[in-house]
Symmetry: C2
Subunit: 423 residues, 2 copies
């Protein structure tokens, strides 16, 4: 299968230059990017009409199947939200509903130009199967659970996923320090030693999380995990709103990525992460939407706008975080954090995970600076095409995932009404 994109503007994300020319996809990979018009036989020729190709966005922190909780408990206090709204409803979750609930999220990712997610939730095998069926690229967290996922079960799912050319991979993580038990830390240590995986966890999302850890253990959550050597193979932390200078030293020492979730941190009133400080210290920052219960949209344009906008406010300085830095967070940095180095830029030999931005949307006009247009005025309505692994899964508002979208919505609505009954 050979697809030619012609008359394109191309932002490869190797740098901030925009090439005018062609891009060729052969099967799952990019086989040409450059100014020369390509000739020969193609199965499909797409005239981009001057529209922009760039790498797909990498959503480096999410909980996809939480769609059933979207708009269910907004405008509540964090404690009420978690203990009275979220946890009792999550207790109703069963294996059979993860596939349908995740599909709504996958559709939204495609509509926002997201070509891969790092997902963390219950029943990861079901999530992986759903992504594979859709043709969506996923990285899932393998997390120990005494009842449903003992060490052997996590290793089994991981071995099944991590095959060459697989759309799915699994890495090792934990929910957080504050939900961890000694048994869980021990099991996670075993998993990390057996797999040499990088490590992923929620970390320092709220001030009380950090303070509680300090009074319990005498150290910050980052210092605690460092003492366990969990980050010795790198990885990422989710949120990182409240990090000490020593935390940042540890992050740098182990080449850990901070995955920021500005929208979720805003909506739950957790705070504004110190992104400018992290960048000044040379820390790699990526972006995530978090789940649909806390954000509520699954939209990388929102995260891009907020990660720079909120820094301008926090530092009372409109210079904070230029647009190209933000675009790097949403693409190459996310890919690095997720172990997807073959999906980070548009170059020959890389995997064909790319999107086309419709520059004829009024928010993309006029063209003073395409990168700034994307970051400061872009939105889902500008996403004209989303391709993953060489397959077009979304184009001109239509989804090509092999299923009837209305049927998915019907099933999810029924599940949502069932799961949201608090017993």
């Amino acid at each position: 299968m050979k697809i030619l994109f012609k008359n394109a503007r191309i932002l490869t994300m190797k740098d901030d230059k925009i090439i005018e020319g062609c891009l060729v996809v052969t099967d799952s990979k990019i086989s040409y990017v450059g100014p020369k018009l390509q000739t020969g036989f193609f199965d499909q020729v797409i005239d981009c009409d001057g529209n922009l190709l760039l790498p797909g966005f990498k959503n480096a922190h999410t909980h996809s199947a939480m769609t059933f909780l979207r708009s269910k408990a907004d405008d509540s206090s964090l404690h009420d939200w978690l203990f009275n709204e979220i946890f009792p409803r999550e207790a109703n979750l069963h294996k059979g509903c993860i596939r349908e609930l995740s599909k709504v999220a996958l559709l939204e990712y495609l509509s926002s130009g997201i070509t891969a997610v790092l997902d963390q939730y219950f029943f990861p095998q079901e999530f992986i199967d759903t992504c594979n069926d859709f043709g969506f690229r996923s990285v899932s967290l393998g997390m120990y659970d005494k009842d449903s996922r003992p060490v052997d079960e996590v290793l089994k799912i991981m071995n099944k996923a991590n095959k060459p050319n697989s759309l799915a991979t699994m890495v090792i993580g934990m929910h957080s320090e504050y939900t961890g038990t000694d048994e869980m830390f021990k099991a996670t240590e075993v998993l990390l030693n057996k797999t040499n995986s990088p490590f992923y966890t929620h970390l320092s999302e709220t001030i009380s999380e950090v303070e509680d850890c300090k009074s319990r253990r005498g150290v910050t959550p980052m210092e605690f995990f460092d003492s366990l050597h969990f980050f010795d193979n790198g990885g990422a932390i989710f949120h990182g709103v409240y990090l000490s200078d020593n935390d940042i030293d540890i992050i740098k020492k182990h080449d850990v990525t901070v995955v920021s979730n500005p929208s979720s941190n805003m909506k739950l009133a957790s705070g504004i992460a110190e992104i400018k400080k992290l960048l000044d210290r040379g820390v790699r920052v990526a972006l995530g939407t978090d789940g649909p219960a806390s954000n509520n949209a699954l939209d990388m344009f929102r995260e891009m706008y907020l990660v720079t906008g909120l820094q301008k406010l926090k530092n009372m300085d409109p210079v904070s975080i230029p647009a190209f830095e933000v675009l790097k967070m949403a693409t190459v940095n996310g890919a690095y954090a997720m172990g997807l180095k073959e999906c980070d830029t548009l170059e020959e030999g890389k995997l064909a995970d790319l999107i086309m931005i419709d520059l004829s949307r009024p928010s993309m006009q006029p063209i003073n600076n395409i990168i700034n247009n994307l970051v400061y005025s872009g939105g889902k309505d500008c996403v004209k095409l989303t391709m993953i692994n060489g397959r077009i899964l979304y184009r001109d508002g239509q989804f090509f995932v092999g299923e009837d979208i209305k049927e998915i919505y019907k099933k999810v609505q029924l599940l949502t009404e069932e799961l949201n009954q608090i017993k």
Copy 2:
């Protein structure tokens, strides 16, 4: 011309109930809203397929023709931005370019479900003509200018605009206290006395604006305008980020609306307005996008999300500002501030300024709470149809404004390149 919308969900904004039924538009007005299936002859029948009708958004503060400055000077300090980037380029503006530059903004408004704007910029007659040609509803600020708009000229434009059934109206305003001269205050007083117009101005956008006014005049900008009796017929202030308790008393006394521009205030690092406090004090709050140089998108979904999100952060309280309050700001409160009381809700006899939201977008699914879905996960991709004064101007991504969109973009690109040459 009679149009039937059937199989609709309808949020009238009289309250937060959602009706399932029909809406009929006869010429420019709504002639039926309710659950009964309407029969008889219709020029057009639109099957809404369960999608949502609600009043169009009212963008209560913008500078439409600034599209040429979009993405031109982002990530600059406020002083650099204004004095080295914006003002020198605005000096290049001439009457002949306002029409084209405004058109790009009008297209973006339509794509975001905005059916009326309160615009403030140079050459208002050109802006009014453009809106009228497109069929777009506008309120323009008539502002005195010694050279281009003496008192008689403002009155002439205003008399021409303010006719019964006109799509355009004009009200009286000033740019701000800090750019005002004695001569301008005098002329504005004359204009207000001759027209009995409410009064509109930028006010207390930055801390330095307030402090400078206090050291110059011994009072806040609000106190200063109150001493001139400019708000005696009500009106609105734009921004209102730094308001004293006495300012709020004056605002309440004169039934003034505070038009908040959360995105612009964030991007220019001006601060976060005290919206929760204003609401607690019973002040009416509306929303505006501000212009495309400072925001940069012209998107009411962004403003709705931010006005509640930023309050949650400012007050460190996720309860701050429920979704329905936000939706009122974007619709009925904006209409009140703009003097558009016939366009505020969907009721028989009201003007047919309405939008249809596509509930089959993944961000609108599942349906736990439609209002929360709109405010917390809505975006331009959810706007299926925009109708103004009974005419459909936007549907399924296409614009029906009587002009070739690509031709508009071409002309605006040339103008943008010409105007952005700093001499």
